[in-house]
Symmetry: C2
Subunit: 417 residues, 2 copies
């Protein structure tokens, strides 16, 4: 017997038929003797509709009112799933954020969970009652509903799993796990049985859209074993592997991963734009003078490379920003104080970032060199490089994205088990 938290996203609860499917997944776990809490999102499309209402009512809407409006979507799903579970003979009740309560810092529309009062939940779960919890929401110090930001239901699920000391947090989604890379680009991409928290964090933030970055961070901090699996598998006879375990990807502590791979996956992101500042006068404080205003304007600068130029008195700076912030960033650079002399500003949105990720890199040299050689052999020009302990990111011309991903996936033999 285990204590489980199951999370189902918007597409998994899109209509009453799918909610019934979810209920059968839950019933299977209850019948197996587990204590179960379920976290649900709004029915797909509902949140967008509610957000649209708020925007149409006023462009500058009060985030507290936005939260009251938008949180209603998860409330509906939670009630409907509880009703459906009861109709299958499973004891269940819905819980809204304020009822548990799930306490937040009260930062409306972008709240962070500060604590969850779990005794009552645990008591009910121990008695065999399934707790159906509205995701994405909590209550702030102002006694008002605060939402966790888009995709916040993943975060709710992991936070609840941590609070109730769950043995596992199952994230049911529209894919059956985390892959070595995007299967739409590399047809023989392989589902990973296990991924370390650190690796998943890099994959999530680099564009693999399976899990929200915040929920992975939270899972890592609290050591919540998080299992990504498919909500579209047959609930009554889910796929199992050769060891009889359900099919999916377990995100866990690296200690739990016996055979560590050198490279675990290849991620990519086309949501990158590059800006180059040429012959910037090289003096102390220049980086702060440029990146301070961008940070103040909430532009999330990612890769930064600075070189001394030929003359030795000026420097060239290149960095990337999200595509959506490209024009705004150029305008901000243009409006910089005249104290910062920049001879030329250029940029491009036609770039992509390809990343090689793996905790095995820590103890192995040569992984980066292998990537550079492989890309060069394909005639792919490297524009920028940044590295961390477990990751190498390379900025290239966007047109070569798929070729680069396939090349890297192949040289690290990710298609082989």
């Amino acid at each position: 017997m285990a204590r489980l938290v199951l999370k189902f996203g918007g597409t998994s609860v899109a209509d009453l038929g799918r909610i019934r499917n979810v209920a059968r997944h839950v019933k299977r776990e209850v019948d197996a003797g587990h204590e179960v809490a379920v976290v649900v999102s709004a029915m797909s499309g509902v949140t967008n509709q509610l957000v649209g209402y708020c925007r149409d009512a006023s462009v500058l809407h009060d985030a507290r009112e936005y939260d009251a409006v938008v949180a209603s979507g998860e409330q509906v799903t939670a009630g409907l799933l509880a009703i459906t579970l009861q109709s299958l003979g499973v004891e269940a009740r819905s819980w809204l954020g304020w009822q548990i309560p799930i306490r937040t810092d009260g930062a409306h529309s972008v709240a962070r969970i500060t604590g969850i009062d779990s005794p009552l939940l645990l008591e009910r779960m121990a008695k065999g009652q399934v707790a159906v919890i509205a995701g994405f929401q909590g209550i702030g110090p102002d006694n008002r509903i605060s939402t966790l930001g888009r995709g916040g239901s993943d975060t709710s699920a992991v936070a609840i799993a941590a609070a109730v000391g769950a043995d596992r947090c199952d994230i049911y989604t529209d894919v059956d796990g985390v892959y070595t890379t995007d299967p739409r680009i590399v047809s023989n991409a392989r589902r990973l049985d296990k991924v370390a928290f650190e690796e998943m964090l890099e994959m999530a933030s680099l564009g693999a859209k399976v899990l929200q970055v915040r929920s992975v961070e939270l899972a890592m901090v609290h050591g919540v074993r998080t299992f990504v699996r498919s909500s579209f598998a047959d609930p009554d006879a889910p796929q199992v592997n050769e060891r009889g375990e359900p099919v999916g990807t377990l995100i866990c502590d690296e200690d739990e991963i016996v055979e560590k791979q050198l490279v675990t996956g290849i991620a990519y992101s086309k949501d990158e734009a590059k800006i180059t500042l040429r012959r910037v006068q090289d003096k102390p404080g220049i980086a702060a003078g440029i990146f301070g205003p961008l940070a103040a304007a909430n532009v999330n600068v990612d890769m930064i490379v600075q070189n001394i130029s030929e003359d030795g008195r000026t420097t060239d700076i290149t960095f990337t920003v999200p595509t959506a912030d490209y024009e705004r960033s150029l305008a901000l650079i243009d409006g910089l104080s005249s104290a910062i002399s920049i001879e030329q500003v250029s940029g491009s949105k036609d770039v992509a970032k390809v990343s090689v990720i793996g905790i095995g890199m820590r103890s192995h040299a040569g992984v980066a060199a292998q990537a550079f050689e492989a890309l060069a052999s394909r005639g792919i020009n490297i524009q920028l490089i940044t590295t961390s302990e477990i990751k190498i990111s390379i900025l290239i011309d966007a047109a070569y994205t798929e070729l680069a991903v396939r090349t890297l996936h192949s040289i690290y033999e990710l298609d082989k088990t």
Copy 2:
């Protein structure tokens, strides 16, 4: 300066355009210096959709979950109206039932309000902040959302008006007041300036669908002056009468009505079915033996007449039930214990109830006789009669409904001011 509670129903908040219209009504009252609380229903159609979801999820759904699902509709409207008010420069915030809190007896889906904690509301209203309150909902002793039953937003508004000691509760609706009868039947029906609580109670329960019966009861008990007016009037230049007062109907204590009319209005209901039991053995306990099982089955028996039949040993009993309960009632009668001997059961759904209402009747004889004569002169046969201090109800063939209403409206001169 006055303290006002304004209530807007589903059709008045059907979309963002109409919500903006509502906001302008509210702003007008705020600009006039009043303290304002607003009670809103769900956007029209939303509650039906949510109720449908619950029914489709399970015919026998948990009323506690139903409440959590259905109450979300008012939550959305409250947030959107608060946002819209703010966009017009009016300080406002939304309040959900559990935030005030509006306490109920916890009878899910049919809850009754037991108390409202008003100090915080009053404090905010005194500071000029409009309280936008989600109608139809409260919180029960189980710390869960409980709804007040369909049309419960009227009741919410009146209860809140009583709790905050409002000078008036304005019910904005799709008609501009209470009429002497249905204007679709009598084209010269007249809008009443004032109606006594007791009269309105009879009109509401007899088929004039302007206000929920429960809200009128509550208004009477707490002496809440309730003003029925149109939400479709121009918010910035609402219609006023010759005394500069807004157009509508005030429902108030009869002491406030200076010129009392003999008859105030003619109501009718086609939602009636008649059942006649012939030659029922006349012995003690016979009425209880018949009406007990009907009451136990939640059939709301309305008019009852019992006559001794010719033989002197048996009795004939005729009564009416709502049309929807007709077949069920016949089945219940059919299944009565053999201890009750009934020679013949007959009935009809082709009947209608027409009622003459007026507090003036109390002190004037002859009102009933006048009605009987007028109907007889038109050849309308009277099937049943019941009377109270301020009302005469007559059951007739449904085909004559409109003729009867027009005839009665005319003989009491209700078309004349």
